[in-house]
């Protein structure tokens, strides 16, 4: 379950403390002046252990960080439930937690993440307002679920309760996020798809699928039910037991009527269902859509009028960090938000939270295609150099503002989580 990628062998923490103490003395004696941080890190390699849910645990980022800052990043990827557990139960096993916001909501009250002083974050001002106020544009509607800004701030360095609005203390620096919707086979659906309700169309009986991960599947189901006009949720991201019952009963009925072909659990299952034509409309993740398309099969990440189900992650500092390691962690985060990583993530079809800096690391054509929703002038290349989209292609759903401006709900954790999982298992067994 746990994949570990170790980017070059770093030094142990104890070794680091010894050498850095010696180096500090040496540097003090030698020059009498402490120069810029990057130089110091290069001379005294420091290791930061980062763990998280995989999407942004990319080796390319660790390698580039080593090159630019001399800081070794040791990355460990787990699934989200294991990440939540590890964050709470082994707080000394990591320095930086790279987790989704709904996980943060679960783990922050345990006191394992220390709030960040925004005055030390160089690029704080450029973070998109979605993560500060919940509104991408001044007239956006705040989405349901665990919206990042609701768990983004605390009142002080020792506070464990989330603040109502923007403060000086930031819980996590947002790094990566995206808007999820339904994937379709445009060649096989035979009509225009414009609503989440379309997945329940009798025409697609036995040709639709949804994700079998309870916390995400229930949200997709909620989007579908609300789109069909069967129910209006108080908050899709935090359903009451009655709402959970209604949603699961609805799913069970649809299943018994034979509406679904399958329920997928892993990325490649969803790709195979779609590319083999077993399924023509289903919940999907954006890289899976790209994977189907790379096999030469038409697949669209269809924007829907009810909006997107969105997810977002960020980096939090472990509570135990202090001194030189804390400085290095801030240094790393400032580097992370300074543009290179942002450009890298944007080019993968995700979004960076620091768009202004990311723009400087993308070509105008890439920026136009990925962020502004314009037709590609030339071929759009993947990070490994293969052609991802041909010239003239337009991104599904259009520009960043069109997509992230239409978020209906965020991935979330419900108060009735345990009950929901039990009922979801009934749906799968039914």
């Amino acid at each position: 379950m746990t994949a570990k990628s170790d980017i070059k062998s770093g030094v142990s923490r104890r070794n680091f403390l010894k050498t850095s103490a010696a180096a500090a003395v040496g540097a003090g004696l030698g020059s009498g002046v402490i120069t810029g941080f990057p130089t110091i890190w290069a001379q005294n390699p420091i290791t930061l252990r980062q763990f998280g849910t995989g999407v942004s645990n990319l080796n390319a980022i660790a390698e580039k960080c080593k090159e630019d800052l001399g800081i070794t990043i040791q990355m460990t990827a787990t699934d989200s439930d294991a990440a939540a557990q590890r964050a709470v139960t082994q707080p000394d096993s990591y320095d930086i937690a790279d987790v989704e916001y709904w996980i943060l909501k679960k783990v922050f009250p345990a006191g394992v993440i220390q709030p960040m002083d925004i005055s030390r974050l160089k690029h704080y001002d450029q973070i998109v307002p979605l993560f500060k106020t919940g509104k991408l544009l001044p007239d956006s509607v705040i989405a349901q679920g665990t919206a990042p800004h609701t768990v983004g701030f605390v009142e002080g360095p020792d506070s464990r309760d989330f603040a109502k609005g923007e403060t000086e203390w930031f819980t996590m620096v947002p790094t990566i996020y995206n808007a999820d919707t339904l994937g379709i086979r445009p060649d096989l659906v035979g009509r225009e798809i414009s609503s989440w309700a379309d997945i329940m169309d009798p025409a697609f009986k036995g040709k639709s699928a949804i994700i079998n991960v309870p916390s995400i599947g229930i949200m997709d189901a909620a989007m579908i039910m609300e789109a069909m006009g069967l129910i209006t949720y108080g908050d899709k991201g935090n359903m009451t037991t009655e709402e959970i019952d209604a949603t699961v009963d609805f799913l069970i009925k649809a299943k018994q009527d034979g509406q679904f072909r399958a329920f997928w659990k892993s990325f490649d299952e969803s790709v195979n269902l779609m590319s083999s034509g077993e399924v023509v409309i289903q919940s999907m993740w954006s890289p899976a859509v790209a994977a189907v398309r790379s096999k030469g099969t038409a697949c669209t990440y269809q924007p829907l009028k009810e909006g997107y189900r969105s997810w977002g992650g960020g980096m939090g500092l472990a509570a135990h960090l202090s001194g030189a390691q804390l400085d290095a962690a801030y240094e790393y985060i400032n580097w992370y938000t300074s543009g290179w990583v942002g450009g890298y993530l944007n080019r993968q079809g995700y979004y960076s939270a620091n768009m202004e800096t990311a723009k400087q690391h993308m070509t105008p054509d890439e920026w136009g295609f990925w962020i502004e929703g314009k037709p590609a002038q030339g071929d759009i290349l993947a990070p490994d150099g293969t052609v991802m989209e041909k010239a003239g292609a337009v991104r599904d759903g259009g520009s960043f503002e069109e997509r992230m401006g239409k978020v209906a709900c965020w991935n979330s954790v419900m108060d009735e989580d345990r009950y929901m999982v039990r009922r979801w298992n009934e749906f799968i067994a039914a």
Binding site: D81, K106, V107, K265, S276, E278, R422, A429
Partner: protein
């Protein structure tokens, strides 16, 4: 002193096995039992003595339904593999004349097992799918208008894959049992005027019973513990006991999964005990 050593020798000889079984069998099962009474939340598991995990598992209709579903697979797969296994073994043991040919044919039976379980299972998907070999063949030949939907992601697909995966576990012990049947018994039966089916029914079948029993134990325990075949071949539409445990483990609900594991263990042990009462397999060993 010597007498003491003589008495201790058998125990000393049994010690390595005892240690191995103790470490790798008894201790894990004991831990499973202990953890099944613990409390848990999303962040961890806590030592306690709660019967809640059992109450939740046994008190829910979902559990019963999943057990019924798993038993259904076990019974169907057992019946088919026993039938197929018996006749394959019978052919090998009584119709193939030379021992060399018997071994060659038997090895051919094992060829599919040179590839991984998962691959053998997944390779059914392009065959059975909506646009798979069978459906495109039948529609192409004009035999059917619409692709047959129930070939894949159905109970049929699950049973088919399981039969494919587990038949050899039935063939081997039955073949082994049949090879021990004294051929003169068959001759005597013929001399006494028995027809072919009477020989099979009155001589071969009773003597092959221990082999069938061992094969049954293999197949039933494998099917009861299966989760990947059910997940992949039913497309997540069906559940099995092990799949339910896997779901719980992926949500870090270890105590709940442990409680289910204990229930399953007890059930399977009861089934095996039942089989052993009917057939004395020690004759075979």
């Amino acid at each position: 002193m010597n007498a003491l050593l003589a008495r201790a020798t058998p125990y000393l000889q049994a010690t390595p096995l005892l240690l191995i079984l103790g470490f790798f069998l008894a201790v894990p099962i004991l831990l499973l039992l202990v953890v099944s009474f613990w409390d848990y939340d999303f962040a961890g598991i806590y030592p306690d003595f709660l019967t809640l995990n059992y109450a939740e598992a046994l008190g829910s209709w979902v559990t019963w339904r999943i057990y019924a579903n798993t038993l259904k697979y076990a019974v169907i797969v057992w019946a088919i593999t026993a039938l197929v296994g018996f006749w394959v073994a019978y052919f090998l043991a009584f119709h193939v004349r030379t021992a060399t040919m018997q071994m060659v044919l038997f090895l051919i039976c094992t060829v599919p097992f040179l590839t991984s379980n998962i691959i053998r299972m997944i390779s059914w998907i392009p065959v059975l799918g909506r646009n798979g070999l069978i459906n495109s063949g039948l529609t192409g030949a004009g035999i059917i208008e619409q692709p047959i939907e129930w070939l894949l992601y159905s109970d049929f697909a699950v049973v088919l894959a399981m039969v494919h995966l587990y038949t050899l576990f039935m063939v081997t012990p039955i073949f082994n049992a049949m090879m021990r049947i004294d051929k003169s018994l068959v001759e005597a039966a013929r001399d006494a005027g028995a027809k072919d089916w009477q020989v099979i029914w009155n001589v071969v079948l009773p003597l092959a019973k221990p082999g069938i029993a061992i094969g049954t134990i293999f197949v039933v325990t494998l099917v009861m513990a299966d989760f990947s075949t059910v997940q992949v071949m039913s497309g997540g539409q069906s559940a099995s006991v092990a799949l339910m445990m896997r779901n719980q483990m992926s949500l870090l609900q270890y105590p709940a999964a442990a409680a289910n594991a204990i229930v399953l263990l007890v059930l399977v042990l009861l089934m095996v005990a039942g089989m052993l009462r009917i057939v004395d397999i020690r004759k075979e060993l």
